[in-house]
């Protein structure tokens, strides 16, 4: 029986703990300063919007942990001493480990803006960020306007949250269309419109210059870099991405680059120390995946993998085909395989949009082999299992279009877009053949 210590009780750490328990009777301790119990970070927004209460964010009932003999330690880790295999805590006694798993997740990026530490300037990542939001932005009387810096997935969630309480929102977006660094122009432009329909003041190609103090250490306004415009606001949401939360390790011997550097077995440079989830950085990227993946499901997968290794079945982290999903206000988004904001060299694309609704698909494929590379869908759900199979089988774009109805995962009785998609595809391709 080993002594397993896990730092961080997010999806990665908790998945590791659950799976280690499945396969062993090791002693397991999970340390977190953020919250006593594991909660779904992805649902923080719904608490503020009043869709849920805090208790609904807890996927397991509180006595689950006792029943499964997973010990929760509510404390902050000061540092790790691998040379004596100990973790030092803020309040409690040091904890000894045989195997250590670092799963400390991310923290919101801050790029050294003047005023970034003022009161009322926060990211949206932690339970404490949500509490701060409830404090600084309870309603539109207390917060006359909020400014969000960064137009990505968290930025739009934050905007949706604030709009649910009718708070005027300005968003500064670096790109010329929404999330255009990831999405092709067509989808990005569709989102521009939809976001504006929700009365969000979108400013493209705008960056933050500085955040202005009201004299009492709280934000009063921000200044836009490009125009020097000063926008009065009571809250600034910083959402230009996240980076690994690993600064507490900087004095230890564990190798850090941006994140904790790991190999495919999620091992760090030090024996018996592993890192998983958002805070882990792959020494060599896997396929097109970035070395640091701050995604819910990769955290879960790494947790499953490291549990195997620790329980004696040494297993490499081997994520399958890339997939992801999100929701932009009212529009659902799914993606399978790789599709970029521009077709890669030698690739072409096929795009179809519903004439009236916010429903569209975008496919990238290789011109010479016609191999299907990836797909984006908006307002149209696809079956993961089917898409994954087609990617594994390296199907052609023609096959995917021909069989797209088999992948339709929309609720029953929904208008079926697949006929229109096929028609548009055949039309485009017969024209090409004719030329």
């Amino acid at each position: 029986m080993k002594n397993i210590v896990i730092i961080g009780n997010g999806i990665s750490g908790i998945t590791a703990a659950r799976h280690i328990r499945k396969f062993s009777d090791h002693h397991i301790q999970v340390i977190s300063a953020e919250s006593k119990y594991f909660f779904s970070r992805t649902a923080l927004m719904y608490v503020y919007m009043g869709h849920m209460n805090w208790k609904h964010l807890l996927p397991y009932e509180n006595d689950f942990w006792r029943k499964n003999d997973i010990n929760l330690v509510h404390d902050r880790v000061k540092t790790v001493k691998p040379e004596v295999k100990k973790v030092l805590l803020d309040k409690g006694e040091p904890i000894a480990y045989d195997d250590l798993i670092i799963a400390t997740g991310s923290k919101p990026n801050k790029f050294g803006w003047p005023g970034q530490e003022l009161k009322g300037v926060r990211g949206l990542y932690s339970k404490q960020d949500l509490e701060a939001l409830e404090y600084y932005v309870p309603n539109k009387k207390v917060c006359k306007r909020a400014v969000i810096v960064g137009g990505g997935l968290i930025g739009i969630e934050l905007a949706e949250m604030l709009r649910s309480r009718d708070i005027p929102v300005t968003m500064l977006v670096r790109e010329s269309n929404f999330w255009n660094n990831v999405l092709p122009d067509e989808e990005a432009k569709m989102l521009n419109e939809h976001i504006r329909e929700h009365h969000i003041d979108l400013r493209f190609e705008r960056n933050l210059d500085s955040i202005i103090d009201d004299g009492n250490g709280k934000v009063k306004a921000i200044k836009v870099k490009e125009t020097s415009e000063v926008i009065g606001c009571d809250y600034v949401g910083l959402t230009p991405g996240v980076s690994p939360n690993v600064s507490f390790l900087k004095d230890s011997d564990i190798e850090i680059n941006k994140g904790v550097v790991v190999n495919r077995y999620l091992e760090t440079n030090i024996d018996h120390v592993y890192a998983i989830g958002d805070c882990a950085e792959q020494k060599k990227p896997i396929g097109n995946r970035p070395p640091i993946e701050a995604v819910w499901y990769t955290g879960r997968m790494m947790g499953e993998v490291v549990a195997q290794t620790i329980c004696g079945n040494k297993t490499a982290y081997n994520p399958g085909n890339w997939f992801n999903s999100a929701k932009f206000l009212d529009i659902e988004y799914q993606t399978y395989g790789w599709i970029f904001n521009q077709p890669q060299n030698g690739d072409d694309d096929f795009y179809w949009k519903h004439p009236d609704e916010n429903i569209c698909i975008h496919i990238h494929y290789e011109i010479s082999s016609r191999k299907f590379k990836g797909i984006n869908t908006f307002g149209f759900r696809l079956r993961h299992e089917v898409m994954d199979k087609w990617l594994n089988e390296e199907r052609s774009v023609d096959f995917v279009i021909d069989h797209i109805d088999e992948a339709n995962f929309d609720p029953e009785f929904y208008e079926d877009p697949t006929k229109a998609i096929k028609k548009a595809f055949y039309k485009k391709h017969s024209n090409k053949a004719a030329v």
Binding site: I11, K22, F23, S40, T42, A43, Y46, M49, G50, H51, M52, N53, H56, L57, P59, E61, L130, E131, E134, Y135, Y136, P138, N139, K140, V142, S164, D166, H194, E197, W296, Y297, R300, M301, E304, V305, Q308, N313, T315, N318, P319, G320, N321, F323, S325, L329, D330, E332, Q334, R381, L382, R383, H384, E385, D388, F409, D410, P411, E412, F413, Y414
Partner: protein, 533 residues
């Protein structure tokens, strides 16, 4: 700083209604006030005018409220503030509403004379206000049930319109709401009233809502009803046969093909009210495993109760002489015992692995109890099957389950316990359909591979208190007996993870072959190792 909003120092989350919502609520309440005045015997003449005014105000108020809530904004999920507004998060007004509704049910069931029922003369008060409509439809004065039926139908129709507005982007929701509205208006309200018109001195049919199936209409096989159906000749006999066929043939076929949702959220009146007027309270259902346990014992207990009661009632009026009527006390009991034994044997032989240990013990216990009690009939000479008189059983069932559970608690407590309390904890029909749904149906909620982010919208908005997330985050399909297939979990999912489907029985439950994004070899390994976690 705390997430408990009432302790917030700087301000509170907006919890107020907008102006139009307030005005429309006032219009609706005006309609209710007219009804209240009538209840206190304030003379409102002409009655038809005040009745029209009251009902229009209620209907108009609801529609205006819906417009004020959902029009002019983009279509999509509209749950903002559900846990912030006192009406939908157990605030003072919610408790007041709950108490008001509960009081209404108590008067309706037990003291109808307080609202003017007079069986031996002209009605007064509230019931008299409804006389013109009842005369128009059924050519007879109103009763408390007519008043209730009218208000019930109006609630389903107009809150149904509100619901369709709310989910205007979702065709499944719109169709199913149209369906429950249609069945309520036609089958529960208009057709039975028109049938009453046909009644005369020598032809009389009991009130029969064709979509109400035993054991939901637990009274269906009482002597007076069966007698009157038999006396009414072919039509009556047809109804009686239809009643038996519905539960033994129609119901199993439809549940096999579509799951119990075909009834619970497309046809049923109780479900209809829960899905329309009750929709704003769906997130209040208790999701704990403790509640699930209570649910299983309670709802199956009610099935046993209604089975015993109905058997005893039918037994009590059957004769013993085969030459007079083919069905006698003994042959009836043997028949019931035979059917129960067949079901029991089928489950224990073919579906053993699909039911949990405690369910197995409960099934064995119930089975032994019922068969044992029936056995008593053959060894003792008493007329009282099951040790109690059939009349007592029937009365206590009617009081405890028919009135208190389904009405007073089931609907009266919408704003406190959620909208499906009766359907989840008490309805024997739902339990029987659920039993079949779990063991013998093509219906499931499919989970979409590894897309689940464990956000918990599905669990929060499940009116039946199913922890949908617990399955979805493991990539498992959801096959639960209590699921009424309302489809809201699928609607509120932000990642497109859930889909209600009827598909092949094979592969319906997929605990061993799930795609969560890992490479396949690892999944095989994990699956081979997982036993009982």
């Amino acid at each position: 700083m705390s997430l408990d909003r009432n302790l917030s120092l700087t301000g509170e989350a907006p919890r107020k209604l907008n102006h139009q919502q307030k005005l429309s609520t006032a219009v609706g309440i005006l309609g209710l006030i007219i009804l209240l005045l009538a209840s206190f015997n304030v003379q409102l003449q002409p009655r038809w005018m005040f009745l029209t005014l009251a009902l229009s105000a209620i209907a108009g108020g609801i529609i205006w409220f819906a417009k004020a809530s959902y029009s002019g904004i983009p279509k999509g999920i509209k749950n903002d503030g559900a846990f912030l507004k006192p009406m939908t998060s157990r605030g003072v007004v919610a408790y007041a509403t709950g108490i008001g509704l509960t009081g209404f049910y108590i008067i309706l069931y037990f003291f109808p004379e307080l609202i003017g029922l007079n069986e031996n003369g002209a009605n007064t008060g509230l019931i008299a206000l409804f006389d013109p409509l009842s005369q128009f439809l059924a050519n007879r004065p109103a009763s408390q049930w007519f008043v209730y039926g009218t208000l019930y139908t109006i609630a389903i129709l107009f809150f149904g319109i509100k619901f369709m507005w709310k989910y205007r982007h979702n065709r499944y929701q719109r169709l199913r709401t149209f369906s429950v509205s249609f069945f309520q208006l036609g089958f529960a309200f208009i057709i039975p009233e028109l049938m009453a018109r046909l009644n005369s001195k020598d032809f009389s049919l009991p009130y029969y809502d064709l979509k109400n199936i035993w054991p939901l209409n637990y009274y269906n096989f009482q002597q007076y009803r069966v007698d009157s159906m038999i006396e009414a000749g072919d039509v009556g006999l047809g109804l009686l046969i239809f009643g038996v066929v519905s539960i033994f043939i129609i119901t199993p076929i439809l549940t096999f093909k579509y799951g119990k949702r075909w009834y619970c959220s497309w046809v049923c009146g109780c479900g209809g009210l829960a899905e329309t007027a009750g929709d704003p309270y769906r997130h209040l259902s208790d999701k704990s495993t403790r509640a699930w346990k209570i649910e299983r014992w309670l709802v199956h207990g009610v099935v046993v109760f209604v089975t015993l009661m109905t058997t005893a009632v039918i037994y009590s009026y059957l004769g013993t002489d085969t030459s007079k009527y083919w069905l006698t006390k003994s042959s009836f009991l043997l028949g019931v015992a035979g059917i129960l034994s067949l079901i029991f044997a089928w489950v224990m032989i073919f579906k053993r692995e699909r039911i949990q240990k405690d369910a197995k013990y409960a099934a064995i216990g119930f089975f032994v109890l019922i068969i044992g009690l029936m056995g008593l009939h053959f060894i003792s000479s008493t007329d009282q099957l099951f040790l109690l008189s059939a009349g007592d059983l029937q009365k206590s069932y009617g009081f405890l389950i028919g009135s208190i559970f389904s009405g007073v608690v089931g609907t009266g407590f919408y704003p406190i316990l959620g909208n499906r309390v009766w359907c989840r904890f008490g309805c024997p029909m739902a339990a029987i359909l659920g039993f079949q749904q779990k063991l013998f149906s093509r219906f499931r909620i499919s989970t979409n591979g590894g897309q689940c982010i464990s956000c918990g919208n599905c669990s929060t908005y499940c009116e039946m208190g199913i922890d949908v997330r617990a399955y979805a985050q493991k990539g498992q399909n959801i096959v639960r007996s209590s699921c009424v297939g309302c489809g809201i979990c699928s609607a509120v999912c932000p990642r497109g993870v859930l889909k209600l489907e009827n598909d092949k029985v094979k592969g319906r439950i997929n605990p061993k072959d799930v795609l969560l994004g890992n490479d396949v070899n690892l999944m095989e390994y994990v699956n081979s190792k997982i036993k009982n976690f």
